[in-house]
């Protein structure tokens, strides 16, 4: 109320004598619609009761698993058999730029410079190092989606087309993905790409279709030196649990708090 008793209303005179409320009908309806609009996402997004049906055929129960991968950098010989196998197993487009996993070569120079390259993901081998006498250290680092517990890509997806499964794998729903590329931008590890034919985000699935059949991911299957270790993050006797117990572990970009589940052993501090 203003000091002179006039109402600050801009929508015509409404007095109690007319049987109306302090707010006129039209404004009230406006509020109702506003409220309905504001509330609708809530309503739309209501999470349904967890289905009690058996989850996958073949008796696979996702809730009994929680997957991660270990990578021992000192064992990687950079042969890129993993990159080749991954492309075959997952129908990743042949041409460069599209990789679920790839090999990076690090060359540390005595003056502190760090050179990283990954020509065609390492598939065709690596060119000779320039100025080879002037190298402090050089090694290979396999990279892939880190299957973060706190993944930025999932946070930014506007439609819920990328998500973490109950067994801890970050997947993309190809039918539901609208191809907006937000997740590609959001991933700090560059692990996603735009599939050139399907026009949806592509990424490593930990070979989910193999996991449900009790097989390890294709990259792990073909790694000749055991540089990649796959299995349950928790539990005592699994190969990954052992790997985690006997190695000093690092994850990539820990400061981002993405909580990756790809654990690196013997990783040089220079690796990003």
């Amino acid at each position: 109320m203003t000091p002179d008793g006039a109402r600050p209303s801009g929508s015509g005179e409404v007095t109690p004598a007319q049987g109306g409320s302090p707010v006129d009908r039209r404004a009230f309806l406006g509020h109702v619609i506003e409220a309905a609009c504001a509330g609708s996402p809530l309503l739309l997004g209501v999470v349904k009761l967890p289905a009690l049906v058996a989850q996958e055929s073949g008796g696979y129960d996702a809730t009994e698993h929680f997957y991660g991968m270990g990578v021992d950098v000192t064992k990687c010989i950079g042969c890129a058999r993993c990159v080749a196998a991954c492309k075959i197993e997952n129908d990743v487009p042949e041409e460069p730029y599209f990789f679920n996993t790839w090999i990076e070569r690090y060359v540390l120079r005595p003056d502190g410079r760090v050179e990283v390259d990954s020509p065609n993901g390492g598939l065709d081998g690596f060119p000779p190092i320039e100025d080879e006498g002037n190298v402090l250290r050089t090694f290979f680092v396999p990279k892939l989606c880190n299957h973060c517990e706190n993944p930025p890509c999932v946070q930014v997806c506007p439609v819920g087309a990328t998500f973490i499964t109950e067994d801890g794998v970050v997947l993309v729903d190809e039918e539901y993905c609208i191809g907006c590329r937000y997740c590609i931008q959001a991933c700090p590890y560059g692990a996603r790409y735009m599939h050139p034919d399907k026009r949806v985000a592509g990424k490593c699935t930990f070979c989910y279709h193999r996991l449900v059949k009790g097989k390890v991911p294709a990259c792990v299957e073909v790694c000749p030196t055991g540089a990649r270790v796959f299995g349950e993050v928790e539990g005592r006797a699994t190969p990954l649990a052992q790997f985690m117990r006997f190695n000093d572990l690092q994850v990539l970009k820990p400061n981002l708090n993405t909580r990756p589940k790809v654990y690196y052993a013997n990783l040089d501090v220079e690796v990003r």
């Binding site: 999470v47 967890p50 197993e89 087309a161 729903d173 073909v222 000749p224």
Partner: protein
């Protein structure tokens, strides 16, 4: 009894229509199975899980190729699974006679892993493909399923071919290298760290050439060639009378 204010039933209708509209929209917009297990379409997981497998895995080969698997599992390539070299073989497992996995016999198969690269970890066996028996197929000398680490050559001739060839056509052909050189076993694996001995005095040659019972040509040890060492005049690997 006072009837309800006029606006209440009208509002109820408006609410009803809005709510109904919402549920219809919800039904149309939210895909089936969304939210069954989380904020995603549960069916997507199932369709990803149904993707066909292409790499069968080593265990699958056991049923039919036990003869290869057993030695392979005990050899240096036990970590190198079958399908690294033979390609994805799930189709072959399902139809062994119709689909044959690839069998690559080219050097490139092996050099992907064994070509020298300074970025590879120390100790991984590597060769220079240009210098290591060029053009000959690797599998001509190394069994692909059970390759052996280089066995240290038995014969001195492997490394000292020049001397061996000379000796072979000389009067000393019947003498072994060890007659004159005490070679420690490590000399074969790490030559410069353990050098064999060499004869040091005239009396060494005198064991034969100053001892008539041996039946070899004799010389007068006290006078012949004094004061020089025998090998200053006679090349030991190809002794000739000059």
């Amino acid at each position: 009894m006072r009837s309800l204010p006029q606006q209440v039933p009208r509002l109820a209708i408006v609410f009803g229509v809005a709510l109904g509209g919402l549920f219809v929209a919800r039904g149309l917009l939210i895909p089936d199975t969304f939210g069954d297990r989380g904020h995603y379409r549960a069916a997507a997981v199932d369709s990803i899980a149904a993707q066909p497998v292409k790499f069968a895995g080593r265990a699958e080969c056991a049923v039919c190729h036990d003869d290869v698997l057993k030695p392979h599992g005990a050899g240096n390539h036990r970590g190198v699974t079958c399908e690294v070299c033979h390609g994805p073989a799930q189709a072959h497992v399902l139809a062994p006679l119709e689909v044959k996995p690839s069998v690559v016999r080219k050097r490139e198969l092996c050099t992907a892993c064994h070509a020298f690269d300074p970025s590879r970890p120390l100790g991984f066996p590597q060769i220079d493909p240009v210098a290591h028996n060029p053009r000959a197929p690797c599998i001509g000398c190394h069994r692909p399923h059970t390759p052996e680490p280089p066995t240290p050559p038995e014969a001195c001739s492997a490394c000292h071919g020049h001397f061996a060839r000379q000796k072979a056509v000389s009067p000393h052909a019947a003498l072994t290298c060890e007659t004159c050189h005490q070679a420690p076993p490590q000399h074969r694996t790490n030559p410069r760290a353990a050098l064999p001995g060499k004869p040091e005095s005239r009396t060494f040659c005198g064991q034969c050439h100053g001892t008539p019972e041996t039946g070899v040509p004799q010389v007068e040890m006290e006078s012949h060639g004094q004061p020089n060492l025998c090998w200053q005049c006679h090349y030991p690997h190809y002794p000739e009378i000059r």
